[in-house]
């Protein structure tokens, strides 16, 4: 086994067969599950509170032929008089009373009267559907469905390669989830790489190891090994997401519009893998320069902020996916992966932009590993003091 591969496998084993790896792997899953469960329970509970009987007054008898739909949350019940409706309201038999407003004749408005808890705002739409059922009584079902159904738009790229309905989940949801998962894996792994280099210095292993391998081999091995850990995390999360979509898709119709397209996943894995190598090498270089993790965090912050910046500008990118800012961020190595994946969900990204971004990513990754090796060479034996910025410039000439 080549030495780079040996070091990479050593780092991979050291990370994966550890409790810490499982914890980092499970955190997004648990957060996602927890959020889903809490949301589901909340919505269900609210629904239970908010659903129920609503009384109405119909002096004009326009609603005599109205029928409650079986899948509606609200059930509308007629009352002959306002007094009897109010008595039922006070008793709690109904949650509210719909009665004609004072200007009903000219405006057609109705009032909603309630006792304590205001019924859900959807009661208006539900009552509208209840009213429509009266107006459409006697019509064929096909006419009823056509009139009561919402208008649905379908958006398509000019080359018809991609299309989306407005009932589908927004197209950027999957790319956004991918980028969030990647950022979690990226920063966790990159931080760990910085700490791994610091640990090598603290363990006083540096001087022995560099008499077996070159600094560049050591850096390449560490970055590759921990990059593989990050990719494994991403793959596991993607598999979990795919399983969840497959299981829940049949129960939650809107999820059926979500899919993990192979081209998006493949592009994401390649881009993120390269960025992992670049950022990981930067973190390893920082670990070589400093003497403790706190100092390392300070130096690492600018890289972290730059890599996350497309998320800050996500509204701009999503609003104008082919704009100047989006294109620039798509080409700059530290921001390219997140930006390109966000755009890929919205528009057809020109092939040349993807090609240029990939090329720059490869060059950035190679350059970062080389530079990390140089900086490592200067800083590896600095156990008690860090590397000054002036010495960094000299290290490139070494």
């Amino acid at each position: 086994m080549g030495k780079v591969a040996l070091i990479a496998w050593h780092e991979f084993k050291k990370s994966v067969f550890r409790r810490r790896f499982l914890i980092v792997l499970l955190i997004p899953v648990l957060i996602g599950l927890g959020t889903s469960i809490v949301g589901f329970v909340t919505v269900s509970a609210l629904g239970r509170f908010e659903a129920g009987k609503i009384g109405y007054l119909d002096p004009t008898h326009l609603l005599d032929k109205a029928r409650n739909a079986p899948d509606e949350a609200f059930v509308f019940t007629p009352f002959a008089s306002e007094d009897s409706a109010k008595a039922a309201l006070v008793r709690g038999d109904i949650k509210g009373i719909i009665r004609p407003a004072s200007d009903f004749a000219s405006s057609g408005n109705v009032d909603l009267v309630y006792w304590r808890d205001k019924p859900d705002k959807d009661v208006g739409a539900a009552f509208g559907r209840f009213r429509d059922s009266a107006l459409l009584s006697g019509q064929p079902d096909a006419i009823k469905n056509r009139i009561t159904s919402d208008v649905s738009f379908t958006y398509q790229t000019p080359d018809q390669a991609r299309s989306k309905n407005d009932t589908d989940l927004p197209a950027f949801i999957v790319p956004l989830v991918l980028t969030v998962l990647f950022i979690i894996a990226l920063f966790g792994g990159a931080q760990y790489l910085m700490q791994a280099v610091l640990d090598e210095k603290e363990n006083r292993m540096m001087e022995i190891v560099v008499t077996s391998v070159t600094p560049t081999q050591l850096m390449a091995g560490k970055v590759t090994g921990l990059g593989a850990v990050g990719m494994l995390q991403m793959l596991i999360w993607l598999v979990v997401v795919a399983i969840v979509l497959a299981v829940l898709g049949s129960r939650v119709p809107v999820l059926q519009t979500v899919s993990l397209k192979p081209d998006v996943v493949a592009l994401a894995l390649v881009l993120f893998g390269l960025q992992y190598v670049t950022l990981g090498a930067c973190m390893a270089a920082i670990g070589s320069m400093v003497t403790d993790a706190k100092q390392g965090q300070n130096y690492a912050s600018p890289f972290t902020l730059i890599a996350m910046s497309p998320l800050w500008f996500s509204a701009v990118i999503l609003f104008d996916p082919n704009g100047v800012l989006a294109v620039i961020l798509s080409l700059f190595p530290l921001t390219a992966p997140v930006t390109l994946i966000l755009r890929y969900g919205m528009v057809s990204v020109p092939v040349w932009q993807i090609a240029v971004a990939l090329t720059l990513q490869v060059l950035a990754a190679a350059g970062a590993i080389w530079l990390a090796g140089r900086i490592f060479h200067v800083g590896m034996l600095r156990f008690d003091k860090g590397v000054k910025w002036r010495e960094l410039a000299e290290s490139i000439r070494f």
């Binding site: 030495k3 070091i7 050291k14 292993m205 022995i208 008499t211 070159t214 034996l381």
Partner: protein, 312 residues
């Protein structure tokens, strides 16, 4: 020279304004045990790191195993620095195997050799423990194993006996001597002068970045020997004209002789003295400790001059 393992010539290295090494030159012959000596801050560690290509020299030439250092040659070199460690969170056997694999030893072979060393050094029953669970002395022994496991041609070892009790010191010493018998060249940096006397064939003494003493241990001791003898005898000593007794311990007397009185003449006089039984008679050679202090404190023969080799 064909049998030269290391050749260092006029080495110089500065770190900023600090001149760590000014002018160091020496050669290490294949198969010998070579002592690299000097007070703290003399430039020994910097010299070692230059030899191992961890640092590049500002001036001078270094040749290792027949030429400039290459990555391939590193697999034939075992190095144990003074500031050393192990991967604390790894199992001992895995740590040793991994470091051997980095030296090009196949995994199966590395495990086999490691087990042999663990048995030899009394670590077999603990080899599956984490390094952090080992005492300092046990970790030292593991570090020695990692230095020797890949059967290097050249071993450079800084303070090999540091932190070891006498039993383990003897163990490590025996290991190094076995390597020496195998033909391994050993460069040893140590402050334990008695170890230098016991083990080293030749030495170089570096002080303030300059090599100030260089040559065979026996030759150096003879060179720094004053005209002195050590005699152990029972009975009354005769009058010894000109000889001055400089120390006495029980029946052992140390005499400094005048220039006109040779040790042989004194022996003849003692042998013929009535009532005196001479039990031992030897030239009182100075210890390496004495020579070290003398040279470093500036009292040594052959004043320090940059680039001058005092002895070869």
């Amino acid at each position: 020279m064909d049998n030269t393992t290391i050749a260092v010539s006029s080495l110089a290295k500065a770190f900023g304004k600090a001149q760590a090494v000014r002018d160091v030159s020496f050669e290490v012959v294949k198969g010998e045990i070579f002592g690299l000596l000097g007070p703290n801050g003399a430039g020994k560690t910097t010299t070692i790191r230059i030899i191992l290509d961890i640092y590049k020299p500002d001036h001078g030439q270094v040749s290792v195993l027949g030429g400039p250092m290459t990555e391939r040659k590193k697999e034939h070199i075992g190095y144990l620095p003074e500031e050393r460690g192990l991967y604390k969170d790894m199992r001992v056997d895995e740590c040793v195997t991994y470091l051997a694999e980095l030296k090009g030893v196949p995994q199966a072979e590395a495990k086999k050799r490691a087990d042999g060393y663990f048995e030899r050094l009394g670590l077999a029953s603990d080899k599956r423990k984490k390094v952090s669970e080992f005492s300092k002395g046990m970790q030292q022994k593991v570090q020695i194993i990692t230095t020797l496991l890949h059967q290097p041609e050249l071993v450079i070892i800084d303070e090999p006996f540091s932190g070891l009790d006498p039993v383990n010191t003897r163990l490590v010493q025996d290991l190094l001597l076995e390597e020496h018998k195998r033909g391994t060249t050993i460069v040893m940096s140590t402050h334990q002068m008695y170890q230098v006397e016991e083990m080293c064939d030749r030495i170089v003494l570096i002080d303030r970045g300059v090599s100030v003493l260089y040559g065979g241990v026996a030759d150096i001791r003879h060179k720094y020997a004053e005209n002195a003898v050590r005699v152990t005898a029972q009975g009354p000593l005769p009058a010894l004209d000109g000889a001055v007794e400089t120390s006495r311990k029980g029946n052992t007397h140390t005499f400094t002789l005048p220039k006109d009185l040779s040790p042989q003449a004194l022996l003849a006089k003692l042998a013929s003295a009535p009532g005196l039984t001479v039990e031992s008679f030897e030239l009182a050679l100075p210890t390496m400790d004495d020579i070290f202090v003398k040279v470093v404190s500036g009292d040594g023969q052959g004043a320090r001059e940059p680039g001058r080799q005092v002895d070869r």
